[in-house]
Amino acid sequence: MNAENLAKAKELLHRFPKKSSALIPMLHLVEDEFGYIPEAEVQVVADLMGVTPAYVEGVLTFYTLFHRQPTGKYLIQVCRGLSCQLNGADELSRFLYDELGVQRNGTTPDGLFTVEEVECIALCKDAPAVQINLDFYPNMTKEQLRSFLDKAAKEVRSGA
């Protein structure tokens, strides 16, 4: 973890009535910083929490928002809950796979995009819904997705 997150992680140890509660927020810090939970960070977290690495792995692998492999800069999660499915979610994911040339849970070679299909994200009334880096994108269309992809790619290119 970088110094800032490390400081936050230490602060977390005292935020809750019991220290054990700090584990999941701490893993969020790592996931946010790296886009996944690197093995080396498991040890860092275990040491901070005073538990074994196995314990940390047991917890983190239970939750789907923690990744064990690197994800792209943009983690695009297409909801495949029934309500979204009834409203064309499949088409959205198929569009992304074609457009980006990746498979399910795949990341583009430039590390920009990862596409996942996820279970219901509580945007059923706004189906089909997508979340990108956990920001909600309700009532998504292929056109909107395309313009997002273009914009993101352009931004990164101009930034780099």
Binding site: Y63, L65, L82, S83, Q85, L86, K125, A127, D135
Partner: protein, 426 residues
């Protein structure tokens, strides 16, 4: 019968997510009333009188739940269940994202009533933005003296701590939620002990849904007796229904319990099926409950009527399907969800959902075999009532009823080697 808005009364007011506007519309009056004019017991009494039942799915009377806390001087906790992961349900999300102060006021008032100094709001991991919204709202409330060591100068301390889950439907189950909140794998706990005696950090704890706690605000405003007059005798008050699927105006609608039928909700309020289509079935209580076919759409939306109709009110997530939707595909989709979300602790749920999933998958892709349907039904019966927590029962809710109500459609998949409707769902 149109909508009856208590929780959503001011939801369309611009800026209602800010504390000033919220206060201008009567916000924090319930908290004031409770903390400044009432004893905690009086607040509890008011909630008892209101007949409010939990809005998280099980419908347990809220006042009674609160009254189970032992009076033994131990630290108590209030935990707000904001995990909202039941497919078809998105009502709590709207409260959190659009009127965060309603929830915060409800949490503070309830914490006062049950004598909890620390309240936790557990949000599903995907509600990261909701987390920030609540964080800001709590800061505003703190600045106004509603949160902190000395709530409204009463000398009472109430602190709210936010907690973000990380992707696990099971963490909506209250004991799994507590495990997760303690930083562990989200496996449900053995009951008893119930959270009321040994909950968070083994202390007496009340777990309530976002909508339940929000409802405390209008209850105090209007008085429990007035609230109890809304709805029916056993299903009092208003309830949010999330309508989604094949429907013209999907959305969250607040109606008086028992005063509106499913048909009225779907047609009059949500606009009916999409142009040129007709409804085929609905799942009225989130994805975990049995299907209702249109013949039964005249069932009033309350706990008892829906149960009598063979289904449940559950979380109030109404997923409606029109004639284009394949029941086999839909139940497969739901089974995939439950397989994905089974925590794996108990055998029937872990292995049963995997097995059902494989058989359904085969049937859906045209490789069904004779005997598959009998096997499906029997496997459902081997899960039903035998799992560690209700997730197992939830997993078979739609399938078991689908097999009964739409048997021909499953049969046709096997005999015709695929979906007779062509590729609609999936």
């Amino acid at each position: 019968m149109p909508e009856k808005r208590l929780l959503f009364k001011n939801i369309d007011v611009p800026g209602i997510d800010g504390i000033e506007i919220y206060e201008q519309h009567g916000g924090y009056q319930s908290l004031r009333k409770a903390v400044l004019d009432m004893t905690p017991d009086a607040v509890l009494q008011e909630v008892m009188t209101s007949n409010l039942r939990g809005r998280g799915g099980a419908g347990f009377p809220t006042g009674r739940k609160w009254s189970f806390l032992p009076k033994d001087g131990r630290t108590r906790y209030l935990v707000c269940n904001g995990d909202e992961s039941e497919p078809g349900t998105c009502k709590d999300q709207e409260i959190i994202y659009r009127i965060p102060h309603l929830l915060i006021e409800g949490v503070l008032t309830s914490a006062y009533a049950i004598g909890a100094e620390d309240a936790f709001i557990y949000l599903r991991g995907e509600f990261k933005t909701g987390y920030r919204i609540l964080e800001r709202a709590i800061a505003e409330a703190r600045a106004k003296g509603y949160v902190g060591d000395n709530v409204l100068g009463s000398g009472r301390r109430v602190e709210i701590t936010l907690y973000l889950g990380a992707g696990a439907y099971i963490c909506g189950e209250e004991t799994a939620l507590l495990e997760s909140l303690e930083g562990k794998r989200g496996n449900p706990r053995l009951k008893p002990p119930f959270p009321a005696t040994a909950g968070l950090y083994s202390m007496p704890t009340v777990v309530n849904n976002v909508e339940t706690l929000s409802a405390i605000v209008p209850i105090l405003q209007m008085g429990g007796a007035e609230y109890a007059k809304l709805g029916t005798e056993r299903s009092a008050g208003t309830k949010l229904f999330s309508v989604s699927g094949n429907v013209r105006r999907p959305g969250n609608y607040e109606v008086e319990l028992g005063k509106v039928t499913l048909r009225e909700l779907l047609y009059d309020i949500a606009g009916g099926p999409p142009e040129g289509h007709e409804f085929k079935a609905a799942i009225p209580g989130g994805s975990s409950v049995p299907f209702l076919t249109p013949e039964k759409f005249d069932t009033p939306l309350d706990y008892e009527s829906l149960q009598a109709a063979g289904t449940m009110l559950g979380s109030g997530g109404v997923i409606v399907l029109d004639e284009r939707a394949c029941i086999v595909g839909s139940t497969l989709r739901l089974m995939e969800f439950y397989r994905h979300e089974s925590c794996g602790k108990c055998t029937p749920c872990r292995e049963g959902t995997m097995w059902l999933n494989q058989v359904l998958q085969r049937i859906e892709s045209g490789e069904g075999r004779p005997g598959d349907l009998e096997t499906l039904a029997d496997l459902c019966s081997n899960i039903d009532g035998q799992t560690f927590c209700p997730l197992g029962d939830a997993a078979i809710g739609a399938l078991a009823s689908g097999l009964r109500l739409f048997h021909d459609e499953y049969e046709a998949h096997i005999t015709k080697g695929g979906c007779p409707l062509g590729e609609v769902v999936r």
